[in-house]
Protein backbone atom coordinates (compact mmCIF):
# COMPACT_ATOMS: atom_id res chain seq x y z
CA UNK A 1 0.00 0.00 0.00
CA UNK A 2 1.12 3.52 -0.67
CA UNK A 3 2.09 6.19 1.74
CA UNK A 4 -0.49 8.87 1.72
CA UNK A 5 0.58 12.17 3.19
CA UNK A 6 0.69 10.83 6.69
CA UNK A 7 1.52 14.17 8.29
CA UNK A 8 -1.88 15.56 7.31
CA UNK A 9 -3.50 13.19 9.80
CA UNK A 10 -3.90 14.64 13.29
CA UNK A 11 -5.79 13.89 16.46
CA UNK A 12 -7.15 10.87 18.26
CA UNK A 13 -10.73 9.98 17.29
CA UNK A 14 -13.04 7.54 18.94
CA UNK A 15 -16.30 6.14 17.64
CA UNK A 16 -18.91 7.01 20.26
CA UNK A 17 -21.28 4.07 19.93
CA UNK A 18 -24.91 4.71 20.79
CA UNK A 19 -27.78 2.24 20.71
CA UNK A 20 -31.36 3.46 21.03
CA UNK A 21 -29.88 6.96 21.45
CA UNK A 22 -28.06 5.93 24.57
CA UNK A 23 -24.28 6.00 24.67
CA UNK A 24 -22.60 2.65 25.25
CA UNK A 25 -20.08 2.36 28.08
CA UNK A 26 -17.37 1.56 25.52
CA UNK A 27 -17.59 5.16 24.23
CA UNK A 28 -16.40 6.51 27.57
CA UNK A 29 -13.78 3.78 27.95
CA UNK A 30 -12.36 4.74 24.56
CA UNK A 31 -12.26 8.41 25.52
CA UNK A 32 -10.36 7.45 28.69
CA UNK A 33 -7.69 5.65 26.69
CA UNK A 34 -7.68 8.23 23.91
CA UNK A 35 -6.89 10.98 26.43
CA UNK A 36 -3.68 9.18 27.41
CA UNK A 37 -2.67 8.66 23.79
CA UNK A 38 -3.50 12.28 22.91
CA UNK A 39 -1.39 13.53 25.80
CA UNK A 40 1.61 11.57 24.52
CA UNK A 41 1.07 12.96 21.03
CA UNK A 42 0.29 16.51 22.16
CA UNK A 43 -3.10 16.48 20.51
CA UNK A 44 -6.75 16.26 21.53
CA UNK A 45 -9.59 13.75 21.57
CA UNK A 46 -12.55 13.83 19.22
CA UNK A 47 -15.61 11.67 19.66
CA UNK A 48 -17.51 10.77 16.50
CA UNK A 49 -21.22 10.43 17.14
CA UNK A 50 -23.45 8.95 14.45
CA UNK A 51 -27.22 8.58 14.71
CA UNK A 52 -30.57 10.24 14.37
CA UNK A 53 -31.57 12.91 16.91
CA UNK A 54 -28.42 12.28 18.91
CA UNK A 55 -27.25 15.85 19.47
CA UNK A 56 -28.41 15.60 23.08
CA UNK A 57 -25.65 13.07 23.77
CA UNK A 58 -22.75 15.41 23.12
CA UNK A 59 -22.70 16.87 26.64
CA UNK A 60 -22.09 13.49 28.22
CA UNK A 61 -19.17 12.84 25.88
CA UNK A 62 -17.67 16.16 26.98
CA UNK A 63 -18.14 15.32 30.63
CA UNK A 64 -16.22 12.08 30.17
CA UNK A 65 -13.31 13.90 28.56
CA UNK A 66 -13.93 14.39 24.83
CA UNK A 67 -12.45 17.70 23.61
CA UNK A 68 -14.50 17.74 20.42
CA UNK A 69 -17.54 15.89 19.22
CA UNK A 70 -18.29 15.48 15.53
CA UNK A 71 -21.97 14.71 15.06
CA UNK A 72 -23.50 13.21 11.96
CA UNK A 73 -27.23 13.38 12.52
CA UNK A 74 -29.25 11.75 9.77
CA UNK A 75 -32.53 9.78 9.77
CA UNK A 76 -30.79 6.98 7.84
CA UNK A 77 -28.69 6.41 10.94
CA UNK A 78 -31.58 5.72 13.27
CA UNK A 79 -30.82 2.03 13.73
CA UNK A 80 -27.41 0.53 13.05
CA UNK A 81 -26.92 -0.74 9.54
CA UNK A 82 -23.49 -1.32 8.09
CA UNK A 83 -23.74 0.75 4.94
CA UNK A 84 -25.02 4.15 6.04
CA UNK A 85 -22.86 4.03 9.17
CA UNK A 86 -19.79 3.07 7.14
CA UNK A 87 -20.49 5.91 4.71
CA UNK A 88 -20.81 8.37 7.56
CA UNK A 89 -17.71 7.28 9.44
CA UNK A 90 -15.62 7.06 6.26
CA UNK A 91 -16.77 10.59 5.39
CA UNK A 92 -15.67 11.87 8.81
CA UNK A 93 -12.27 10.21 8.39
CA UNK A 94 -11.79 11.59 4.90
CA UNK A 95 -12.83 15.07 5.98
CA UNK A 96 -11.11 15.40 9.36
CA UNK A 97 -8.16 13.00 8.83
CA UNK A 98 -7.48 11.60 12.30
CA UNK A 99 -4.17 9.89 12.95
CA UNK A 100 -5.85 7.40 15.25
CA UNK A 101 -9.41 6.03 15.05
CA UNK A 102 -10.59 3.81 17.89
CA UNK A 103 -13.77 1.74 17.73
CA UNK A 104 -15.29 -0.57 20.33
CA UNK A 105 -14.94 -4.28 19.63
CA UNK A 106 -18.69 -4.72 19.99
CA UNK A 107 -21.11 -6.48 17.68
CA UNK A 108 -21.44 -3.12 15.93
CA UNK A 109 -17.79 -2.08 16.03
CA UNK A 110 -16.53 -5.40 14.75
CA UNK A 111 -18.69 -4.88 11.65
CA UNK A 112 -18.27 -1.15 11.19
CA UNK A 113 -14.50 -1.17 11.88
CA UNK A 114 -13.44 -3.61 9.17
CA UNK A 115 -15.85 -2.14 6.63
CA UNK A 116 -14.59 1.40 7.17
CA UNK A 117 -10.92 0.46 7.35
CA UNK A 118 -11.22 -1.31 4.01
CA UNK A 119 -13.13 1.66 2.60
CA UNK A 120 -10.49 4.20 3.59
CA UNK A 121 -7.76 1.67 2.77
CA UNK A 122 -5.95 1.45 6.03
CA UNK A 123 -5.08 -1.25 8.55
CA UNK A 124 -7.22 -2.29 11.48
CA UNK A 125 -6.14 -4.21 14.54
CA UNK A 126 -8.94 -6.12 16.25
CA UNK A 127 -9.85 -6.57 19.89
CA UNK A 128 -6.96 -4.66 21.40
CA UNK A 129 -6.33 -4.90 25.11
CA UNK A 130 -3.47 -2.40 25.30
CA UNK A 131 -2.70 0.74 23.30
CA UNK A 132 0.35 2.92 23.65
CA UNK A 133 2.45 5.37 21.70
CA UNK A 134 5.93 4.17 20.77
CA UNK A 135 8.45 3.49 18.05
CA UNK A 136 8.24 1.15 15.12
CA UNK A 137 10.25 -0.99 14.88
CA UNK A 138 10.36 -1.10 18.65
CA UNK A 139 14.13 -1.42 18.44
CA UNK A 140 15.77 0.39 15.55
CA UNK A 141 17.50 -1.81 13.01
CA UNK A 142 21.23 -1.12 13.42
CA UNK A 143 22.44 1.13 10.62
CA UNK A 144 18.86 2.12 9.79
CA UNK A 145 18.15 4.23 12.85
CA UNK A 146 16.63 6.98 10.72
CA UNK A 147 14.03 4.58 9.35
CA UNK A 148 12.57 3.98 12.79
CA UNK A 149 9.24 5.78 13.05
CA UNK A 150 8.25 7.57 16.21
CA UNK A 151 4.89 8.40 17.74
CA UNK A 152 3.28 5.28 16.35
CA UNK A 153 0.22 3.63 17.83
CA UNK A 154 1.32 0.26 19.18
CA UNK A 155 -1.70 -1.99 19.47
CA UNK A 156 -1.48 -5.10 21.60
CA UNK A 157 -3.98 -7.88 21.23
CA UNK A 158 -4.42 -11.45 22.27
CA UNK A 159 -4.86 -14.07 19.59
CA UNK A 160 -5.21 -17.80 19.49
CA UNK A 161 -7.82 -17.90 22.19
CA UNK A 162 -5.73 -15.69 24.44
CA UNK A 163 -2.64 -17.86 24.19
CA UNK A 164 -0.52 -15.47 22.20
CA UNK A 165 0.00 -11.76 22.36
CA UNK A 166 0.98 -9.62 19.43
CA UNK A 167 1.82 -5.94 19.28
CA UNK A 168 0.92 -4.43 15.96
CA UNK A 169 1.67 -1.14 14.26
CA UNK A 170 0.29 0.52 11.17
CA UNK A 171 3.28 2.63 10.14
CA UNK A 172 2.47 3.59 6.56
CA UNK A 173 -1.25 4.22 6.57
CA UNK A 174 -3.60 6.56 8.31
CA UNK A 175 -5.63 6.55 10.34
CA UNK A 176 -4.20 3.87 12.57
CA UNK A 177 -7.35 1.98 13.44
CA UNK A 178 -8.07 -0.35 16.32
CA UNK A 179 -11.08 -2.00 17.87
CA UNK A 180 -10.90 -2.30 21.63
CA UNK A 181 -12.60 -4.91 23.76
CA UNK A 182 -15.25 -3.51 26.09
CA UNK A 183 -14.37 -3.62 29.75
CA UNK A 184 -10.64 -3.39 29.24
CA UNK A 185 -9.97 0.37 29.20
CA UNK A 186 -10.90 2.62 32.11
CA UNK A 187 -13.25 5.53 31.71
CA UNK A 188 -12.37 8.82 33.38
CA UNK A 189 -14.43 10.14 36.25
CA UNK A 190 -17.35 12.20 34.99
CA UNK A 191 -16.64 15.91 35.20
CA UNK A 192 -20.02 17.66 35.45
CA UNK A 193 -20.36 20.71 33.25
CA UNK A 194 -17.24 19.99 31.19
CA UNK A 195 -17.99 20.97 27.59
CA UNK A 196 -16.73 19.63 24.32
CA UNK A 197 -16.62 21.64 21.11
CA UNK A 198 -19.48 20.29 18.98
CA UNK A 199 -19.02 20.11 15.21
CA UNK A 200 -22.03 19.23 13.09
CA UNK A 201 -21.09 17.47 9.90
CA UNK A 202 -23.60 16.48 7.24
CA UNK A 203 -22.09 14.28 4.56
CA UNK A 204 -24.42 13.01 1.84
CA UNK A 205 -25.32 9.40 2.48
CA UNK A 206 -25.70 7.74 -0.85
CA UNK A 207 -28.50 5.20 -1.13
CA UNK A 208 -26.90 2.23 -2.94
CA UNK A 209 -27.32 -1.52 -3.43
CA UNK A 210 -25.59 -2.21 -0.15
CA UNK A 211 -28.41 -1.08 2.09
CA UNK A 212 -30.29 -3.80 3.92
CA UNK A 213 -33.81 -3.62 5.34
CA UNK A 214 -34.41 -4.13 9.01
CA UNK A 215 -37.64 -6.08 9.29
CA UNK A 216 -37.66 -6.46 13.02
CA UNK A 217 -35.71 -5.55 16.13
CA UNK A 218 -36.06 -8.09 18.91
CA UNK A 219 -34.57 -7.17 22.25
CA UNK A 220 -33.60 -9.90 24.65
CA UNK A 221 -35.85 -9.86 27.66
CA UNK A 222 -34.67 -9.89 31.25
CA UNK A 223 -31.17 -8.95 30.25
CA UNK A 224 -30.95 -5.71 32.15
CA UNK A 225 -27.99 -6.42 34.37
CA UNK A 226 -24.61 -6.89 32.82
CA UNK A 227 -21.85 -8.89 34.47
CA UNK A 228 -19.34 -6.55 32.86
CA UNK A 229 -20.55 -3.78 35.16
CA UNK A 230 -20.29 -5.76 38.40
CA UNK A 231 -17.63 -4.84 40.94
CA UNK A 232 -17.73 -8.31 42.45
CA UNK A 233 -18.44 -11.48 40.49
CA UNK A 234 -19.07 -14.86 42.03
CA UNK A 235 -18.57 -17.24 39.17
CA UNK A 236 -19.49 -20.92 39.14
CA UNK A 237 -18.49 -23.81 36.92
CA UNK A 238 -19.06 -27.50 36.49
CA UNK A 239 -18.04 -28.18 40.09
CA UNK A 240 -21.05 -26.31 41.42
CA UNK A 241 -23.02 -29.34 40.35
CA UNK A 242 -26.54 -28.03 39.89
CA UNK A 243 -28.70 -25.03 39.19
CA UNK A 244 -29.93 -25.11 42.79
CA UNK A 245 -26.38 -24.83 44.12
CA UNK A 246 -25.99 -21.49 42.35
CA UNK A 247 -28.18 -20.09 45.14
CA UNK A 248 -25.10 -20.41 47.42
CA UNK A 249 -23.13 -18.31 44.98
CA UNK A 250 -25.89 -15.72 44.79
CA UNK A 251 -25.88 -15.45 48.61
CA UNK A 252 -22.15 -14.77 48.57
CA UNK A 253 -22.53 -12.24 45.76
CA UNK A 254 -25.30 -10.47 47.68
CA UNK A 255 -22.95 -9.83 50.59
CA UNK A 256 -20.83 -7.68 48.29
CA UNK A 257 -23.69 -6.35 46.18
CA UNK A 258 -22.14 -8.29 43.34
CA UNK A 259 -23.43 -10.63 40.65
CA UNK A 260 -23.24 -14.29 39.77
CA UNK A 261 -21.54 -15.33 36.57
CA UNK A 262 -20.33 -18.65 35.22
CA UNK A 263 -18.12 -20.70 32.96
CA UNK A 264 -19.16 -22.29 29.71
CA UNK A 265 -19.82 -25.63 31.43
CA UNK A 266 -22.55 -24.03 33.57
CA UNK A 267 -24.22 -22.62 30.46
CA UNK A 268 -24.01 -25.96 28.69
CA UNK A 269 -25.67 -27.62 31.67
CA UNK A 270 -28.46 -25.08 31.53
CA UNK A 271 -27.71 -23.64 34.98
CA UNK A 272 -27.34 -20.04 33.81
CA UNK A 273 -28.04 -18.14 30.59
CA UNK A 274 -25.24 -17.36 28.19
CA UNK A 275 -25.42 -13.67 29.14
CA UNK A 276 -23.67 -14.63 32.38
CA UNK A 277 -20.83 -16.54 30.77
CA UNK A 278 -17.28 -15.32 31.27
CA UNK A 279 -14.56 -16.23 28.80
CA UNK A 280 -13.56 -16.48 25.19
CA UNK A 281 -17.05 -17.23 23.95
CA UNK A 282 -18.67 -15.16 26.68
CA UNK A 283 -17.74 -11.83 28.17
CA UNK A 284 -14.48 -10.30 29.30
CA UNK A 285 -14.81 -9.07 32.84
CA UNK A 286 -12.58 -7.11 35.10
CA UNK A 287 -14.22 -6.82 38.51
CA UNK A 288 -12.46 -5.83 41.69
CA UNK A 289 -13.02 -9.30 43.09
CA UNK A 290 -13.59 -12.44 41.04
CA UNK A 291 -14.51 -15.66 42.79
CA UNK A 292 -13.94 -18.76 40.62
CA UNK A 293 -15.91 -21.50 42.30
CA UNK A 294 -15.80 -25.02 40.96
CA UNK A 295 -14.22 -23.71 37.78
CA UNK A 296 -11.27 -25.71 36.51
CA UNK A 297 -9.86 -22.74 34.64
CA UNK A 298 -9.68 -23.72 30.98
CA UNK A 299 -7.63 -21.21 29.03
CA UNK A 300 -10.79 -19.97 27.30
CA UNK A 301 -12.29 -19.05 30.65
CA UNK A 302 -9.13 -17.51 32.03
CA UNK A 303 -8.89 -15.26 28.95
CA UNK A 304 -12.12 -13.59 30.06
CA UNK A 305 -11.31 -12.94 33.72
CA UNK A 306 -7.59 -12.80 34.33
CA UNK A 307 -7.53 -9.00 34.35
CA UNK A 308 -9.67 -9.00 37.49
CA UNK A 309 -8.03 -7.10 40.35
CA UNK A 310 -8.28 -9.96 42.83
CA UNK A 311 -8.97 -13.58 41.95
CA UNK A 312 -10.07 -16.14 44.52
CA UNK A 313 -10.44 -19.75 43.45
CA UNK A 314 -12.20 -22.50 45.34
CA UNK A 315 -11.82 -25.98 43.87
CA UNK A 316 -11.53 -29.49 45.21
CA UNK A 317 -8.92 -30.44 42.61
CA UNK A 318 -5.60 -29.09 43.81
CA UNK A 319 -4.16 -29.35 40.31
CA UNK A 320 -6.93 -27.29 38.68
CA UNK A 321 -5.35 -24.76 36.31
CA UNK A 322 -7.45 -21.96 37.84
CA UNK A 323 -5.02 -21.93 40.75
CA UNK A 324 -2.28 -20.72 38.46
CA UNK A 325 -4.06 -17.38 38.00
CA UNK A 326 -5.65 -17.09 41.44
CA UNK A 327 -4.29 -14.70 44.02
CA UNK A 328 -5.79 -16.86 46.73
CA UNK A 329 -6.50 -20.50 46.05
CA UNK A 330 -8.54 -22.63 48.39
CA UNK A 331 -8.44 -26.38 47.89
CA UNK A 332 -11.58 -27.84 49.33
CA UNK A 333 -15.28 -28.58 49.15
CA UNK A 334 -17.16 -25.56 47.84
CA UNK A 335 -20.40 -26.82 49.35
CA UNK A 336 -18.93 -26.36 52.81
CA UNK A 337 -16.70 -23.36 52.23
CA UNK A 338 -19.02 -21.06 50.30
CA UNK A 339 -21.92 -20.97 52.79
CA UNK A 340 -19.47 -20.67 55.71
CA UNK A 341 -17.68 -17.82 53.99
CA UNK A 342 -20.97 -16.04 53.33
CA UNK A 343 -21.95 -16.30 57.00
CA UNK A 344 -18.52 -15.18 58.20
CA UNK A 345 -18.61 -12.16 55.88
CA UNK A 346 -22.08 -11.20 57.06
CA UNK A 347 -20.89 -11.39 60.66
CA UNK A 348 -17.81 -9.29 59.93
CA UNK A 349 -19.86 -6.63 58.18
CA UNK A 350 -22.35 -6.47 61.03
CA UNK A 351 -19.55 -5.88 63.51
CA UNK A 352 -18.37 -2.84 61.61
Amino acid sequence: MNNMGLEEYKGVFIYAQQVDNELSSIAFELIGKAKELAKDLGTDVTAVLLGSNVKGLTDELGEYGADKVIVVDNPELETYRTEPYAQALAAVINEYKPEIMLVGATAIGRDLGPTVSARVATGLTADCTKLEIGDFPINAVPGKEDEQKHNQLLMTRPAFGGNTIATIACPDNRPQMATVRPGVMQKLPKEAGRKAEVIEFNPTLEKNNRYVDILNVVKAVGNVENIMDAKVLVSGGRGVGSKENFKMLQDLADVFGGMVSCSRAAVENGWLAQDYQVGQTGKTVRPQIYFAIGISGAIQHVAGMEESDLIIAINKDEDAPIFSVADYGIVGDLNKIVPALTEALKAEMKNK
Binding site: A118, C170, G332
Partner: protein
Protein backbone atom coordinates in the same frame (compact mmCIF):
# COMPACT_ATOMS: atom_id res chain seq x y z
CA UNK B 1 -28.30 -20.60 -6.99
CA UNK B 2 -24.56 -20.42 -6.37
CA UNK B 3 -23.18 -20.21 -2.87
CA UNK B 4 -19.51 -19.74 -2.10
CA UNK B 5 -18.37 -20.51 1.43
CA UNK B 6 -14.99 -19.15 2.50
CA UNK B 7 -13.32 -21.44 5.01
CA UNK B 8 -10.02 -21.45 6.89
CA UNK B 9 -7.85 -24.17 8.30
CA UNK B 10 -6.94 -23.37 11.90
CA UNK B 11 -5.16 -25.15 14.75
CA UNK B 12 -7.62 -26.81 17.11
CA UNK B 13 -7.69 -25.19 20.51
CA UNK B 14 -10.61 -27.28 21.77
CA UNK B 15 -8.64 -30.19 23.13
CA UNK B 16 -6.37 -27.82 25.05
CA UNK B 17 -3.56 -25.77 23.69
CA UNK B 18 -0.18 -27.47 23.65
CA UNK B 19 2.97 -25.72 24.77
CA UNK B 20 6.63 -26.41 24.18
CA UNK B 21 8.96 -26.75 27.15
CA UNK B 22 9.96 -23.09 26.80
CA UNK B 23 6.34 -21.93 27.08
CA UNK B 24 5.83 -21.19 23.40
CA UNK B 25 2.88 -22.65 21.54
CA UNK B 26 3.46 -26.05 20.03
CA UNK B 27 1.50 -25.47 16.83
CA UNK B 28 2.68 -28.71 15.28
CA UNK B 29 1.13 -30.72 18.12
CA UNK B 30 -2.30 -29.25 17.52
CA UNK B 31 -4.64 -30.73 14.97
CA UNK B 32 -5.58 -28.60 12.00
CA UNK B 33 -9.36 -28.27 11.73
CA UNK B 34 -11.96 -26.34 9.81
CA UNK B 35 -12.65 -23.12 11.68
CA UNK B 36 -15.88 -23.61 13.67
CA UNK B 37 -17.68 -20.45 12.49
CA UNK B 38 -16.80 -21.35 8.90
CA UNK B 39 -18.13 -24.86 9.39
CA UNK B 40 -21.42 -23.42 10.61
CA UNK B 41 -21.44 -21.24 7.48
CA UNK B 42 -20.88 -24.32 5.34
CA UNK B 43 -23.68 -26.15 7.13
CA UNK B 44 -26.00 -23.20 6.49
CA UNK B 45 -25.10 -23.35 2.79
CA UNK B 46 -25.66 -27.11 2.66
CA UNK B 47 -29.08 -26.71 4.27
CA UNK B 48 -30.02 -24.15 1.64
CA UNK B 49 -28.79 -26.66 -0.93
CA UNK B 50 -30.90 -29.43 0.64
CA UNK B 51 -34.02 -27.27 0.70
CA UNK B 52 -33.81 -25.04 -2.34
CA UNK B 53 -31.13 -26.67 -4.44
CA UNK B 54 -27.85 -24.82 -4.86
CA UNK B 55 -24.32 -25.37 -5.96
CA UNK B 56 -21.97 -24.95 -3.02
CA UNK B 57 -18.35 -24.05 -3.67
CA UNK B 58 -15.82 -23.83 -0.87
CA UNK B 59 -12.80 -21.59 -1.12
CA UNK B 60 -9.81 -21.26 1.12
CA UNK B 61 -6.59 -19.32 1.10
CA UNK B 62 -3.67 -20.97 2.78
CA UNK B 63 -0.80 -23.39 2.51
CA UNK B 64 -1.16 -26.43 0.24
CA UNK B 65 -2.02 -28.56 3.29
CA UNK B 66 -5.27 -26.56 3.62
CA UNK B 67 -6.45 -29.00 0.94
CA UNK B 68 -7.60 -31.13 3.90
CA UNK B 69 -10.38 -28.75 4.96
CA UNK B 70 -11.60 -28.50 1.38
CA UNK B 71 -11.85 -32.29 1.19
CA UNK B 72 -13.70 -32.29 4.47
CA UNK B 73 -16.13 -29.72 3.12
CA UNK B 74 -16.73 -31.82 0.02
CA UNK B 75 -17.18 -34.93 2.18
CA UNK B 76 -19.92 -33.00 3.99
CA UNK B 77 -21.58 -32.16 0.69
CA UNK B 78 -19.91 -29.20 -1.01
CA UNK B 79 -19.76 -29.55 -4.78
CA UNK B 80 -16.53 -27.80 -5.67
CA UNK B 81 -13.40 -26.61 -3.95
CA UNK B 82 -10.83 -23.94 -4.67
CA UNK B 83 -7.49 -23.53 -2.94
CA UNK B 84 -5.81 -20.15 -3.29
CA UNK B 85 -2.16 -20.64 -2.50
CA UNK B 86 0.96 -18.78 -3.50
CA UNK B 87 4.14 -17.79 -1.75
CA UNK B 88 3.58 -14.12 -2.56
CA UNK B 89 0.34 -14.24 -0.58
CA UNK B 90 2.01 -15.28 2.67
CA UNK B 91 2.12 -13.07 5.75
CA UNK B 92 -1.09 -11.28 4.78
CA UNK B 93 -3.07 -9.29 7.34
CA UNK B 94 -6.84 -8.98 7.05
CA UNK B 95 -6.63 -6.27 4.37
CA UNK B 96 -4.34 -8.32 2.14
CA UNK B 97 -6.25 -11.53 2.87
CA UNK B 98 -9.61 -9.99 2.01
CA UNK B 99 -8.09 -8.43 -1.13
CA UNK B 100 -6.83 -11.85 -2.19
CA UNK B 101 -10.08 -13.67 -1.53
CA UNK B 102 -12.06 -10.94 -3.28
CA UNK B 103 -9.70 -11.33 -6.27
CA UNK B 104 -10.48 -15.05 -6.35
CA UNK B 105 -14.23 -14.54 -5.92
CA UNK B 106 -14.33 -12.18 -8.91
CA UNK B 107 -13.77 -15.27 -11.10
CA UNK B 108 -16.87 -16.97 -9.78
CA UNK B 109 -20.61 -16.64 -10.20
CA UNK B 110 -22.18 -16.21 -6.81
CA UNK B 111 -25.50 -15.25 -5.34
CA UNK B 112 -24.44 -15.66 -1.77
CA UNK B 113 -21.05 -15.61 -0.08
CA UNK B 114 -20.82 -17.00 3.43
CA UNK B 115 -17.79 -16.63 5.68
CA UNK B 116 -17.37 -17.46 9.34
CA UNK B 117 -17.60 -14.52 11.71
CA UNK B 118 -14.04 -15.05 12.87
CA UNK B 119 -11.28 -17.63 12.97
CA UNK B 120 -10.20 -19.10 16.28
CA UNK B 121 -6.54 -18.35 15.62
CA UNK B 122 -6.76 -14.68 14.65
CA UNK B 123 -10.14 -13.83 16.23
CA UNK B 124 -10.39 -10.63 14.17
CA UNK B 125 -13.83 -10.96 12.50
CA UNK B 126 -12.53 -8.60 9.81
CA UNK B 127 -12.06 -10.64 6.68
CA UNK B 128 -15.77 -11.22 5.95
CA UNK B 129 -16.87 -7.57 6.01
CA UNK B 130 -13.71 -6.55 4.16
CA UNK B 131 -14.37 -9.02 1.33
CA UNK B 132 -17.85 -7.50 1.02
CA UNK B 133 -16.25 -4.05 0.92
CA UNK B 134 -13.86 -5.01 -1.88
CA UNK B 135 -16.68 -6.57 -3.90
CA UNK B 136 -19.20 -3.82 -3.19
CA UNK B 137 -21.71 -6.24 -1.65
CA UNK B 138 -24.18 -5.79 1.18
CA UNK B 139 -22.85 -7.47 4.31
CA UNK B 140 -24.72 -8.98 7.22
CA UNK B 141 -22.39 -10.00 10.03
CA UNK B 142 -23.05 -12.27 13.03
CA UNK B 143 -25.80 -14.37 11.46
CA UNK B 144 -27.73 -16.62 13.84
CA UNK B 145 -30.19 -17.79 11.23
CA UNK B 146 -30.34 -17.61 7.44
CA UNK B 147 -33.36 -18.04 5.19
CA UNK B 148 -33.56 -17.65 1.45
CA UNK B 149 -36.67 -15.95 0.11
CA UNK B 150 -36.79 -15.38 -3.62
CA UNK B 151 -33.88 -13.16 -4.58
CA UNK B 152 -33.25 -12.12 -0.98
CA UNK B 153 -31.93 -13.52 2.26
CA UNK B 154 -33.50 -12.96 5.63
CA UNK B 155 -31.00 -13.13 8.43
CA UNK B 156 -31.14 -12.94 12.20
CA UNK B 157 -28.28 -10.58 12.97
CA UNK B 158 -27.00 -10.94 16.53
CA UNK B 159 -26.08 -8.06 18.83
CA UNK B 160 -25.19 -8.16 22.52
CA UNK B 161 -28.71 -7.61 23.82
CA UNK B 162 -30.92 -8.10 20.77
CA UNK B 163 -31.13 -9.31 17.25
CA UNK B 164 -32.22 -7.62 14.07
CA UNK B 165 -34.14 -9.47 11.43
CA UNK B 166 -32.50 -8.15 8.30
CA UNK B 167 -33.36 -8.59 4.65
CA UNK B 168 -30.76 -8.18 1.93
CA UNK B 169 -30.95 -8.64 -1.82
CA UNK B 170 -28.55 -11.12 -3.30
CA UNK B 171 -25.74 -11.07 -4.17
CA UNK B 172 -24.61 -10.39 -0.64
CA UNK B 173 -22.21 -11.62 2.00
CA UNK B 174 -23.10 -13.12 5.37
CA UNK B 175 -20.76 -13.91 8.26
CA UNK B 176 -21.88 -16.93 10.24
CA UNK B 177 -21.78 -17.61 13.96
CA UNK B 178 -21.08 -21.11 15.20
CA UNK B 179 -24.39 -20.83 17.12
CA UNK B 180 -26.11 -20.87 13.72
CA UNK B 181 -26.43 -24.64 13.63
CA UNK B 182 -24.93 -28.00 14.47
CA UNK B 183 -22.79 -28.91 11.45
CA UNK B 184 -23.34 -32.33 9.99
CA UNK B 185 -20.70 -35.04 9.98
CA UNK B 186 -19.05 -36.21 6.82
CA UNK B 187 -20.16 -39.58 5.47
CA UNK B 188 -17.70 -42.40 4.71
CA UNK B 189 -18.81 -42.46 1.08
CA UNK B 190 -18.55 -38.68 0.93
CA UNK B 191 -14.95 -38.96 2.10
CA UNK B 192 -14.10 -41.48 -0.60
CA UNK B 193 -15.65 -39.26 -3.28
CA UNK B 194 -14.05 -36.11 -1.92
CA UNK B 195 -10.61 -37.70 -2.04
CA UNK B 196 -11.12 -38.60 -5.70
CA UNK B 197 -12.32 -35.14 -6.73
CA UNK B 198 -10.16 -32.39 -8.14
CA UNK B 199 -9.45 -29.34 -6.04
CA UNK B 200 -8.93 -26.26 -8.20
CA UNK B 201 -5.68 -24.57 -7.26
CA UNK B 202 -5.23 -20.88 -7.96
CA UNK B 203 -2.14 -18.76 -7.54
CA UNK B 204 -1.42 -15.04 -7.76
CA UNK B 205 -1.95 -15.04 -11.53
CA UNK B 206 -5.51 -16.26 -11.13
CA UNK B 207 -6.62 -13.34 -8.96
CA UNK B 208 -8.74 -10.82 -10.82
CA UNK B 209 -8.35 -7.03 -10.58
CA UNK B 210 -5.84 -7.11 -7.76
CA UNK B 211 -2.73 -4.98 -7.38
CA UNK B 212 0.49 -6.59 -6.16
CA UNK B 213 0.94 -3.76 -3.71
CA UNK B 214 -2.08 -5.02 -1.76
CA UNK B 215 -0.97 -8.63 -1.39
CA UNK B 216 0.99 -10.65 1.10
CA UNK B 217 3.23 -9.30 3.81
CA UNK B 218 4.22 -6.27 1.74
CA UNK B 219 0.64 -5.37 1.03
CA UNK B 220 -0.39 -5.55 4.66
CA UNK B 221 -0.85 -2.15 6.31
CA UNK B 222 -0.56 -3.65 9.78
CA UNK B 223 2.86 -4.93 10.80
CA UNK B 224 3.78 -7.07 13.75
CA UNK B 225 6.05 -5.14 16.09
CA UNK B 226 6.34 -7.89 18.66
CA UNK B 227 4.77 -11.27 19.17
CA UNK B 228 5.03 -13.59 22.06
CA UNK B 229 3.20 -16.44 23.60
CA UNK B 230 1.44 -15.35 26.67
CA UNK B 231 3.20 -15.72 29.95
CA UNK B 232 0.59 -16.88 32.42
CA UNK B 233 -0.04 -14.66 35.38
CA UNK B 234 1.90 -16.01 38.31
CA UNK B 235 0.01 -18.09 40.81
CA UNK B 236 -0.66 -16.57 44.20
CA UNK B 237 -1.05 -18.48 47.42
CA UNK B 238 -2.79 -21.82 47.59
CA UNK B 239 -3.95 -23.41 50.79
CA UNK B 240 -5.44 -26.79 51.59
CA UNK B 241 -7.17 -26.47 54.94
CA UNK B 242 -10.37 -27.64 56.52
CA UNK B 243 -13.43 -25.51 55.64
CA UNK B 244 -13.45 -23.39 58.81
CA UNK B 245 -9.75 -22.61 58.49
CA UNK B 246 -10.20 -21.81 54.80
CA UNK B 247 -12.89 -19.27 55.65
CA UNK B 248 -10.75 -17.74 58.39
CA UNK B 249 -7.85 -17.50 55.96
CA UNK B 250 -9.96 -15.65 53.38
CA UNK B 251 -11.48 -13.31 55.97
CA UNK B 252 -7.93 -12.49 57.08
CA UNK B 253 -6.92 -11.71 53.50
CA UNK B 254 -9.99 -9.53 52.96
CA UNK B 255 -9.10 -7.53 56.06
CA UNK B 256 -5.50 -7.25 54.92
CA UNK B 257 -6.70 -5.83 51.61
CA UNK B 258 -9.25 -3.58 53.35
CA UNK B 259 -12.06 -5.20 51.42
CA UNK B 260 -13.95 -5.58 54.67
Amino acid sequence: MNIVVCIKQVPDTKGGVKFNADGTLDRAAMLAIMNPDDKAGLEAALRIKDQNGAKVTVLTMGLPKADAVLREAMAMGADDAILVTDRVLGGADTWATSTTIAGALRNLDYDLIITGRQAIDGDTAQVGPQIAEHLGLPVISYAEDIKVEGDSVIVKRQYEDRYHEVKAKMPCLITALSELNEPRYMTPGGIFDACDKEVTVWGRADLKDVDDSNLGLKGSPTKIAKASDKVPKGAGEKVNLDPAESVAYLIGKFKEKHII
